[in-house]
């Protein structure tokens, strides 16, 4: 499920120092380019963090940027951006994040299935660490595929 929604082309690594706004905009860029989301969805994600949305911080340096489906999701998709330097949400050091995911779900059903898949992977301590240690998009895809096959 997740390996299909998070293809290699949606996984990027950057060595640039980014703000949280730039990080969210960049993690979402492959979804925007593919037509999975509209620019409105990126604005909605930024607005929700601006409005106090540090809830997208999952802990362990990982954030899951998302907004409601009706705010501009065309097709369900997930993207990932690994930063060399953390970009703290709302510039709050306690919300330092260096692994951003963008989650775009077209409807509630897709939302639940994809979220369940992502939650299992991120809640598994070994896989989470391996994901943080991964150095390439191919490696990330391989990790996720292995995890899904082992379930």
């Amino acid at each position: 499920m997740l390996s299909r929604l998070l293809p290699e082309r949606n996984i990027h690594f950057t060595s640039s120092t980014l703000t949280w706004r730039e990080a969210i905009t960049q993690v979402a860029a492959p979804l925007l380019e593919a037509g999975d989301i509209t620019p409105e969805y990126i604005r909605a994600m930024l607005d929700s963090v601006e409005a106090g949305g540090t809830y997208i911080d999952l802990g362990h340096g990982i954030a899951l940027a998302h907004a409601r489906p009706e705010r501009g999701v065309v097709r369900t998709g997930i993207a990932m951006l690994r930063l060399a330097e953390p970009a703290a949400l709302l510039d709050q050091p306690e919300h330092a994040v260096d692994l951003y995911f963008c989650f775009a779900a077209a409807d509630a059903d897709a939302h639940m299935r994809a979220m369940a898949s992502l939650a299992r992977i991120l809640s598994d301590a070994d896989t989470r660490q391996a994901l943080r240690d991964a150095a390439s998009a191919a490696e990330v895809v391989e990790l996720i595929t292995e995890f899904e096959e082992s379930e």
Partner: protein
């Protein structure tokens, strides 16, 4: 006994926490616990026996009753301890 995972929209993180609590409840073989998730604004003191929120919603959950505040919503070790203590507080173990 009802455990309720909450987040601001009732869509994302609360669902993740609910799944993880369900896994732990099965793993620990705890009796008679149902787990649900919802948005925090529709929850009241009668909605559940124990409420689980991430730390950014700590203030919003004030007054609901037995509220467990999580530092990370994907940390199974932290959640396992929280579920165990909640079960103990309510006389389930």
């Amino acid at each position: 006994m009802k455990f309720l995972a909450m987040c601001s929209t009732g869509l994302g993180s609360s669902f993740m926490v609910r799944m993880n609590i369900e896994t732990i409840v099965r793993e620990l073989d705890l009796p008679d616990i149902t787990v649900e998730h919802s948005d925090i604004s529709s929850a009241g003191p009668d909605s559940a026996d124990v409420f689980f929120v991430a730390k950014d919603l700590e203030d919003a959950a004030h007054g609901l009753g037995d509220v467990v505040v999580l530092n990370s919503i994907i940390d199974m070790d932290e959640l396992r301890e929280a579920v165990k203590s909640a079960a103990a507080r309510h006389g389930l173990v």
